[in-house]
Symmetry: C2
Subunit: 245 residues, 2 copies
DNA sequence: CCTGACCAGATTGTCAACAATCTGCAAAGC
DNA sequence: GCTTTGCAGATTGTTGACAATCTGGTCAGG
């Protein structure tokens, strides 16, 4: 095995990727219409694959589809980002717990995850906040994959694709994010999962989500989100892990 | 306002619906290939909408897509059903808790939910186990909608569409399911949510999922699922609600 | 007998043209 | 003046034809 799998993305997925890139670049903004024919012409392909790509983005919640009226880039609110993180918190706990229950979750599988964690230490990555976020989400995805819960990880991966886009279009600043603290949290998380310390793992994951959202909330222009963790959105479901980490 | 909204399903959604029906009827079975041209010919339309409908089912996990090789009906295992229910357990708790935190979740919204619950008492529904399951899932969906968490409810609704199909193709028998007990559980659940008794609601929801899965496990031909609730899959994440209901 | 290139049929992927629908505006009716 | 109707342009929805790809088998060469 010397060759890595070919990318093998369908044209539709490539189209979706391009649109996502345009959103991250700021070329495309919330409320903008996505006109199939225009995009097809720009990419030099026909409307079919473009249409399919737009549907993929619609399934992710990045664009809104209205029957016979086309697709519009979503205008997410900060609450949408919160909702995404609440889903990640919940399903992530599910995945981590299940991963720790599997006999198969031993050394070899963990090495791949460790590799992704190491990539976050790369100085080239540390410079770019977007690359950092990408590496971060990939690490988390690999960790969740250990669970073998394909439906759960599919939803988690979908939210992972949403996050950079939402963060960008909302103008959330997160440059002050402490990279070494982030990596340290992930090391704690990975170690806990590897050692199957359920409660420590749950606490570490919860801690990471809280820190990330907390950082976003700080940088967010509006002041109404200061008491973000006091919002009922984040409470009452997973609190029992607090006293265990 | 004398007219009800038109159904307004896209052709693709109608196609997906037909394929789901074929699955429920047994006309289509796990492993069967879905050939775009054949389905298009049978339905008297062209391949485009059929293709789109198949993609919708793929997003739901009902069919598996392989690049350039077409779509095949999934062959779900009982573990897949378990995974679906674990997701519903987790996200359902999230939705219910958030619904109970909203000021707006007052009488008028609850009336619609109550209506759906009453529909389950309809003798015509009680006769047909499939209709019962459908009414049940609709009630749950309406309840979750109260949360206003669109991403969470979208995933929940997707799992709701999966359940009847998976139950059918796996040959799970659930006829012995006690309808009055089911309705009674739902009444408890609705009452708890309405009164905003967080812990009672969580316990009731958890109880419902456990009973449903337990019933399925009983009817399932294989014997390996007797200790289903001892599986780590169902443990360690939401257990703290046990001592509160 | 085994290996690998090649071919034919089936099926998906893409395309460009056509039909159906929506939007906004302008004109007609009250 | 206000509402309603009817149109024109823009855009999506659908279609049938064509191109690319995959599958399985056949056949030549070793």
């Amino acid at each position: 095995m010397t060759f890595e799998r070919l990318p093998d993305l369908s044209t539709a997925e490539l189209v979706a990727e391009r649109i996502r890139e345009a959103l991250l670049q700021g070329t495309l903004r919330p409320g903008d219409r996505l006109i199939e024919a225009d995009i097809a012409a720009e990419l030099g392909i026909s409307r079919g694959p473009v249409r399919e790509g737009i549907r993929l983005l619609a399934a992710e919640g990045i664009v809104v589809l209205r029957r016979n009226r086309g697709a519009v880039v979503t205008s997410p609110t900060f609450d949408d980002v919160l909702e995404v993180y609440v889903v990640r918190l919940g399903l992530g706990l599910l995945a981590l717990n299940h991963a720790m229950s599997l006999d198969a979750a031993s050394a070899p599988e963990f090495d791949d995850v460790e590799l992704l964690l190491r990539r976050m230490r790369n100085p080239g990555v540390q410079g770019d906040a977007l690359l950092m976020m990408d590496a971060d989400l990939h690490f988390q995805s690999a960790l969740f994959d250990l669970s073998g819960l394909t439906r759960v990880t599919a939803v988690l991966d979908q939210t992972a694709r949403d996050i950079p886009v939402f963060v960008k279009v909302l103008g959330i600043t997160y440059d002050e994010l402490d990279h070494s603290a982030l990596i340290e949290r992930h090391e704690r998380l990975l170690h806990a999962v590897r050692q199957r310390h359920r409660d420590a793992a749950a606490a570490a994951w919860r801690d990471h989500v809280r820190c990330t959202v907390g950082e976003f909330a700080r940088g967010y222009p509006a002041a109404q989100f200061e008491g973000i963790f006091d919002l009922p959105l984040m409470h009452h479901v997973f609190d029992h892990h607090d006293n265990l980490g």
